[in-house]
């Protein structure tokens, strides 16, 4: 699994490969911006998983090991572009400028959660940021993304749409219809598959008989490319190219980022029950965060001290937001009945009164 031939720029040891020459890299400032957010992402995940263990939140989905795939791609977008996430793209939300406090309130499902405590942790969404509402059903977002991008095309817009999903999602009918519509209508869509090798306990070889998920693009007449998903530079380069092509009317791309889920599927999952620690260890050697840090330090853009400092900052930032969020009360009971429709119909109004009456 580790000798895949996916497109790569930054080697696991933090040195640049040949491809660096052919691809405009990100400048140190950009890289540091990304590194900061990647570290925040990692620490936030760790912290929330701990909170879940302590019973302070109900559930959590982490993304350790997949940050480069998620953030390298999201960073290739403009503000005007749309992100259609699944549940594991916290990094994309952070890149997008999703306020940390808002995210944490969502994890608590409290009164300041902008989705009003209506969904499980990790199922946020922010219209202003063009970061679409997350749902659990695997794959549903894929053809929706095609729809957004078709609307853009119809209206002559210049935006593109980046949609995320896992290797498991490629088995759903919705994957097929989403990519097929995109091929037929030549929409500005980037289909970004995080192939993290596992769908809960199911390995990718049980999802598909082909080795290369990116090759499925051929069936739809769109571009396909496989990239080292733990290489921030490669992911960014490949996605930028796809964005460019989409923006210029060249149609959709399927990107397969080969990566690995270092943690459990979610806090409900114990991966030791189904996978070999050796595989995990091998992939830990390819940790995208460590790789980027090595590169930054080797290049003289960053020091161990800087890192210690950043760790401290992040810890405090998370701590502060957590403290604030934990003080926020749960959503008001009447939020149970709003937003089912734009206005509350008679039967829901009655049910609301009934709830008030019956629990007096």
């Amino acid at each position: 699994m580790l000798d895949f031939k996916a497109f790569n720029i930054l080697h696991p040891d933090g040195t640049l490969g040949e491809e660096a020459r052919n691809n405009p890299s990100l400048n140190p400032e950009q890289l540091l911006f990304l590194y900061r957010l990647m570290l925040l992402n990692r620490r936030l995940d760790e912290r929330m998983i701990m909170l879940q263990r302590q019973g302070r939140i109900g559930f959590y989905i982490g993304s350790a090991g997949e940050e480069a795939a998620i953030m390298g791609s999201a960073y290739a977008l403009d503000e005007r572009d749309w992100i259609v996430p699944c549940y594991r793209e916290l990094g994309a939300a952070l890149i997008r400028g999703y306020p940390l406090f808002q995210l944490i309130c969502q994890f608590f499902g409290n009164a300041e959660d902008i989705v009003k405590g209506r969904q499980m942790p990790n199922h946020y969404g922010n219209r202003q940021l063009r970061f679409v509402s997350i749902s659990s059903p695997v794959g549903t977002q894929i053809p929706q993304a095609t729809g957004i991008s078709l609307a853009i095309k119809i209206r002559g817009g210049s935006e593109v749409v980046l949609v995320y999903f896992g290797d498991g999602a490629t088995s759903q009918g919705d994957f097929h219809v989403g990519l097929n519509f995109a091929g037929v209508y030549k929409t500005p869509t980037i289909f970004f598959c995080r192939n993290n090798q596992w769908a809960i306990s199911t390995p990718t070889r049980c999802q598909t008989a082909v080795e290369n998920i990116a090759s499925k693009a051929q069936a739809y007449g769109i571009e396909g490319v496989q990239v080292d998903g733990n290489d921030l530079l490669a992911v960014h380069a490949v996605t930028s190219k796809a964005v460019e092509r989409a923006r210029q009317g060249g149609g959709a791309t399927l990107i397969e980022a080969v990566t690995f889920r270092l943690g459990g599927h979610s806090t409900s999952d114990d991966p030791k029950a189904y996978r070999d620690e050796k595989q995990v260890e091998q992939w830990r050697q390819r940790d995208p965060l460590v790789r980027l840090r090595s590169y930054l330090i080797n290049g003289g853009h960053w020091t161990e001290d800087d890192d210690t400092g950043l760790e401290g900052e992040i810890k405090e930032q998370i701590q502060e937001n957590l403290k604030r969020a934990e003080r926020v009360p749960p959503p008001a009971v009447d939020t149970l009945f709003s937003d089912v429709y734009d206005t509350i119909p008679w039967h829901l109004r009655e049910q609301q009164e009934e709830l008030e009456g019956e629990t007096e």
Partner: protein
């Protein structure tokens, strides 16, 4: 006023709304140049072009998901599902996605769209060209469900549906697509979603129905009047969710007897809800149980569809039984 059939009325509503609001787009199988297998979108492609009216690949999940995406972007899609029987590949997108989008995003993202689809039997369509799936959608919070019975209502309700901020399932009674003709005003007008219409006043029995069954119920009411001197209040619900309980209750409190007529299978059908809701709120007015005359709990048959569908005979027999309760 011109006399139109339901297809023409639907077509007229689509054309007017597309003219009025350039966010309205029509998509579905064969709806483009060809104008749809029932011809409901005829002429729209020529008038509004391929960016506003287009054929899709044969995938209902794709049609609805595409419409959801378009709605998220700010358009007003009006997807057509060729027959209601073929809506199930899109069930997940409708029930888990479109219906829940507003709620789950705290009101940020919305899915205004109108899913038009012909429903009901009586055209010798067998299992897969006859179904009445309204109960599935009425049971799904977040959806509105509309089922007009005639051209006038079809046009006014479709216009309202397209302007509505919520996802709407718009069920068109295909058995009377061409047979039901009425005067339809030119130009735009709206019929409010959620308002039933009392088609005939009566004192002895309230018949609540919708879609193609309205016509059968009206015939039965005439027969009951002629043969038994019984007067029925026939209510055309028009909107199934949110439905007009107030009008139903007003009538039942007057007549003391209620009958629901629909084509869909009985068990857990929409008639069950109406029966339960009426009894909950008007028990003391009832002179007999709320009666359901419906399709049977079988798949929709082919050769025997006329036995399956509620008929004038079945309605009148059931009415007489109720009147003698």
């Amino acid at each position: 006023m011109p006399v139109l059939n339901i297809i023409q009325a639907v077509n007229d509503a689509l054309r007017l709304e597309m003219k009025r609001d350039d966010r309205v787009v029509v998509l579905g199988e064969d709806v483009g140049k060809f104008g749809g297998v029932f011809r409901a979108t005829v002429g729209l492609y020529d008038e509004f072009g391929p960016n506003r009216v287009f054929d899709t690949p044969l995938a209902e999940a794709g049609i609805i998901a595409t419409a959801i995406g378009m709605a998220l972007y700010g358009l007003r899609p009006v997807p057509e599902i060729q027959f209601a029987d073929f809506i199930y590949p899109a069930f997940d997108q409708i029930v888990n996605e479109a219906a829940k989008m507003r709620y789950r995003s705290g009101g940020q993202f919305t899915c205004p769209m109108v899913i038009r689809t012909p429903f009901g039997g009586g055209i010798k369509g067998g299992h897969y060209h006859s179904q009445s799936p309204e109960a599935y959608f009425v049971h799904t919070a977040g959806l509105k469900v509309i089922a007009p019975s005639n051209p006038y209502d079809a046009k006014g309700l479709l216009i309202s549906a397209i302007r509505d901020e919520n996802p709407v399932i718009f069920l068109e009674p295909k058995r009377v697509y061409r047979a039901a003709r009425s005067e339809v005003p030119e130009g735009e007008y709206q019929i409010p979603i959620g308002e039933a219409k009392i088609l005939s006043e009566g004192n002895d029995l309230t018949i609540v129905t919708y879609g193609a069954m309205v016509h059968t119920a009206m015939e039965a009411a005439t027969r009951l009047k002629d043969e038994d001197n019984v007067t029925c209040e026939v209510i055309d619900l028009r909107t199934l969710m949110p439905y007009d309980l107030r009008t139903i209750l007003g009538s039942v409190r007057k007549t003391g007897r209620a009958m629901i007529v629909h084509e869909a299978p009985r068990t857990c059908g929409f008639g069950a809800e109406l029966s339960a809701a009426i009894t909950e709120r008007a028990l003391l007015y009832l002179e007999g149980p709320v009666v359901r005359v419906t399709g049977f709990d079988t798949p929709f048959p082919y050769a025997l569809e006329n036995h399956y569908l509620p008929s004038v005979g079945r309605i009148t027999t059931a009415a007489r039984k109720l009147l003698n309760f």
